[in-house]
Structures are given as structure tokens and as C-alpha cells.
Symmetry: C2
Subunit: 146 residues, 2 copies
DNA sequence: ATAATAAAAGATATTTTTGTCTTTATTTTT
DNA sequence: AAAAATAAAGACAAAAATATCTTTTATTAT
């Protein structure tokens, strides 16, 4: 498996893209986003609509409309996106799928897994949505295969 | 999401259970396994048949038959189970779902994620199937909710 | 006002994952 | 040889995730 659902992967790639394209206050359309993060347009549309409802990004209809991020939003951790899309399983779930990860009734992998899960959480809360804008603009990092 | 598919979670829990019950050379039936790792019997049956075909565990039909593990198998890393069931995405996959995680064309999360993925791989190759037998027998760790 | 643009929403479809039920094959015990 | 036990296999079903297509609503520009 992967750390994130496919939906969440799309969401993260798209939000990174939007961040790097709208830091100057402009907007970007779903077609362009979908093309540049290599995701199905309408499916991604729903994902972004959902994130918009949840206040993670903003959108405007009509000509010159599109999705965009307020400067303030660029400071948010990507953990916000992950939990909005995938819930909190990645932050609190048991490695072996037990209903409640617990210190008192641990599964065999609990003690080792706990550390890994903490590292994941640390990474997701420490990295912000806007943190890669420069590198993305420079093409030093990518959101889709070349 | 979770680190492993549900199928893989069932597999790991079941193999741990089988390990702890057959270290003495006896065998254990699918009904008992399913009950003790809280998984759907027939579904788990297929999973174990598959692992059996792949040589990770063994089985015997007929009265007093069941699933069991050779002492040698107890030394194998649980990474073998994970890759047999879920493939190698957890060991090599990109955090953002790009087709090829790459050092030359990294995604935004690559550098941080690489470390985490290495820790996961390290844990999965370092822990063996039989390593928890004693604790399981003592009830200090669990394979299903109490 | 009208037309054009773009997101939002709705309906439907496909694929993958997860789960159930039934039958068959193999082995052991009697 | 017959009966019982047990895994293996096959067919089918339900649920969840992923994807597509169409219609509606809001906004802007003319
Ligand atoms: S109980 Fe399984 S990871 Fe904590
Ligand atoms: S390219 Fe994404 S994790 Fe390596």
C-alpha cells in the first residue's frame, strides 16, 4: 500500500501546483491543474471542491475564475490536506489494523511502528503548502512524470 | 490510508498467530485462526493459500491438518509477507504517487519521505515472523481487540 | 441583456478491494 | 472401504475507491 489514498495524492499534487501558481494572487483553472499533476479532470474537480468547502483553498466561478490559495493558506501544514482527505488513520491508526492502537494492549508492531508514525506526523505538520513554490517554479522538483 | 492493505493486515496477524501456535510442530485450523485474529474465515483462507503457494507457510489437509510454519520460516522477515501480499510499493513507491520515485526527478516530499520509507523497510526486514511468539503466548501483545 | 467562461453539482460507470457461499480434493481415522 | 475432517478452489456478491459525462449555477465581459 501507499501512505496516502490516490485521492489524497491527487489533492496534494494539485494543492502544491495551485500554491506555486497563485502566490501572486492569480487563479488557475481545473483543466490546467489536472494536466500538470496528471490526474483525471472531473475527479480532481470534486476533490478540490471538497477542499474548498473545508476552507483549505478558494475558488471563483466565471471568466478568469479558478482555484487559488490565500497567502495565509500557504503557511498551513500539508497534514491539513491529508486529514481532510484521508482522515486521521495515518496519524493514529494501528499498523496491523486493530480498531484502537493502544499502549496498554499493543499489537506486535506497536512499539516500532509508533516511532515511524510519529516521524510521518512530524513531516506532515512541519512541511507547509507553500514551502516548495520556488523549487517548483525552477523545475527542481516535479508533480508529474516527465 | 494505512501502511498495509486490509488483506496484508489479515495476513500478518494470521501468520503471527500461526507462528505462536505451531512452534512446537502442531498445526492450527483456519477457523481457529480466523477467530483469533478477527478476520473473515474464507477470505483469510485464500490469503493463506496464497502464502502457502509462495512458500511462506505450509498446510496439510485432512484430520489434524491445518496451517503451520517450519522452524526455519520463523526466522524470515515479515517484509516477505508484506511484499507477497502488497507488492513492493511500500518499499519503493513515491509518496505522491508518481510512477517512479527518483532521485533525479524528485517530488516535493521525496527527500523527507525517503528517510521514512527506509525506516519502514528497516523495521520490516529486521522483525521476524517468530519474534513475538513468547509475548503472544503470555498475552502481552494482541492480534485482536479484547 | 446576452454570451462566454469556469466551478459546482448530479448522475452514472468502472475497477479494485473485500467478503460469502458452495463444491472439490486430500488425508486420516475407523 | 467408508466416513469424517480439513484445506483448496471456484463462483458469486457487496462495498469502496476511482473515473466519466452531463447539467446547473455563478461570474464576467461584451
Ligand atoms: S496497537 Fe498496533 S500500532 Fe499500536
Ligand atoms: S519522487 Fe516522490 S517520494 Fe521519491
Amino acid at each position: 500500500m501507499s501512505l496516502f489514498s490516490k485521492t489524497c495524492e491527487y489533492a496534494l499534487r494539485a494543492v502544491f501546483y495551485i500554491a506555486s501558481k497563485t502566490a501572486d494572487g492569480s487563479k488557475v483553472g481545473i483543466k490546467e491543474i489536472a494536466r500538470n499533476v496528471n490526474s483525471p479532470e472531473h475527479f480532481l474537480g470534486k476533490i478540490l471542491q471538497d477542499l474548498s468547502r473545508k476552507g483549505i483553498l478558494d475558488s471563483a466561478k466565471g471568466p478568469n475564475g479558478g482555484f487559488f490559495l490565500h497567502p495565509k493558506s500557504l503557511k498551513r501544514p500539508i497534514a491539513d490536506i491529508v486529514s481532510a482527505v484521508d482522515g486521521d488513520n495515518v496519524f493514529t491508526g494501528c499498523a496491523l489494523g486493530l480498531a484502537h492502537c493502544s499502549e496498554r494492549n499493543p499489537c506486535p508492531l506497536h512499539h516500532e511502528f509508533k516511532k515511524i508514525r510519529n516521524n510521518i506526523a512530524k513531516m506532515l505538520t512541519a512541511t507547509t503548502i507553500g514551502q516548495f513554490n520556488k523549487e517548483l517554479t525552477l523545475g527542481k522538483i516535479l508533480l508529474k512524470e516527465v
